[in-house]
Amino acid sequence: MGLLDYDFMQRALLASLMVGLVAPAVGVFLVQRRLSLLGDGLGHVALTGVAVGVLTATSPVWTALVAAVAGAVLIELVRARGRTSGDVALAVLFYGGIAGGVVLLSLAPRGQATNLDSYLFGAITTTSPQDVAVFAGISVVVLLSVALLGQRLYAVSDDEEYARAVGLPVLGLNVVLAALVASTVVLSMRVVGLLLISALMILPSAIAQLLARSFRETVLLACLIGVLVSVSGTATSFYTGTPSGGTIVLLAIALFLLVTSVVALRESTARRRHRRRVDVHDAHPHEHGAACGHPPVPHGDHVDYDHDGHLHAPHRTGRGVHYDEHGEHPVAAPPNR
């Protein structure tokens, strides 16, 4: 009996594919903006939406979407109003969201399936065909928005003041980003649950950051990693009988630890090997260039600088520039230096 023989598993894998793709695409901007926990907070707010849906017998996905987007817009407006305890306002909203959800759910008439756990930690096998359709709609909207506005969202997340100075609609873009996060929260609700959503937004980005050189690369790599851990986590949970959300997040954390140690190991061995082959001039006091006063000397495919008789070859690495000693200059240094 294979994974794909069950309808519910097909839907589950489809949902996890969409979540894995969308959550990191939005999460990268949150990491850049240092607002990693916004998704967490909006997950709390969405719980009140879920409870309202259960109580009024409407689809919890829709009411959660409305509540999360409303919460997101409110948060951005509070942030934009500035100085007066935005922090406290956020806390009130977040905890109000989860408390409201718990209390409202407890009021639901008996006989209705109100399993709090399934919302908090995900219940991917309960994904209905209607849910899949809604999720697909949300995914398309979020991915299109990121594709269309990505560069502006990057500008605002990177340097809000500069974005304002050059006339970008900062508040509008912040509200759009928050609304995208809210939509992603709802999308992820069934797969990882409201309490673990942030993990799937943040962790793939944190892994991609270690490997990528540009923002674009980071986004693409994060989406790839997101799909990988989400789908494989869902498949694993089928065989081990563990909850999908927790399995996915543990997989992501394992990957994060693995990549972190591999990158650290690779860097240190590369540095050691480099040091064995050439003399490295660490902590060079200035950067050689046209204006530094040390004459440039062509050397094969690069330019060395004649630093008091030593040939310094710039070596650029991800951590900056250091200088390799490329031997003595054939013309000796002035005698009295």
């Binding site: 050059v166 006339g167 923002f215 204006a291 530094c292 520039v321």
Partner: protein, 267 residues
Amino acid sequence: MSTQIPAIRLRGATIGYGDVPIVRDVDLTIAAGEAVAVLGSNGSGKTTLSRGLLGLATVLDGEVQVLGAPVGRLRERGRVGYVPQRHSISGAVPATVREVAGVGRLARLGLFRPLGAADRRAVVDAVAAVGLADRLDDPVAALSGGQQRRVLVARALAAEPELLIMDEPTAGVDAASQEALAGTLAAISARGTTLVVVTHESAPLAGVLTRAVVVDHGRVAYDGPLSGAGHHDEHLHHHPPEREPAGYRLDQPTVTPGPRAAADRER
């Protein structure tokens, strides 16, 4: 750049934050193509003045016009370039020099238009203008502090602005980067771009800037040739006036560790 409209025109302008005025009742006109240093000590209001021109501080009273339009009403925001005072530009997520400079070009593109071929060329040209053409696709985190500052200048230049407002572009920058910056600014000034440089040390850019506006306690204390700003500037640096007998030493960088260290702590 043949317009009669001044690049900047302030009439009785009071600028501040919230409802707290910092700069009061300033009259100032800067013609298109001028290269002006806005000097002043720490807390004098010079940064607030420049932020008022950019719509980052509030105009509380009077009139502030930039390129002929009241602040914030200018349609083509790309015509005004801005280099903020920042010591590092590497954010949480890696980004290349090309990506950071590309943000500046967005000012010309409105809300949805992506960078076209001409825009990409402008970005490459801007990075080349600050002497970092060979670092285009390097992560900004791999650059030195001075080079990162030059990337911020490239970001502003990418929009091909008519007016360039810079906040302390030389503070804490190594000598080689300062020289590169002076060369870049001389070139764009020669093309007719108006320069407004907020700084506490005009010496590194003395060859480029010709006029000085000295701000003291929120008011303009001096407005004239840079060479004549010496007395006021020296006064602001709390030197006894007799130490510097004849004006401002353009050929010598002023070594004033006190105010400079203080300025580094600013903001």
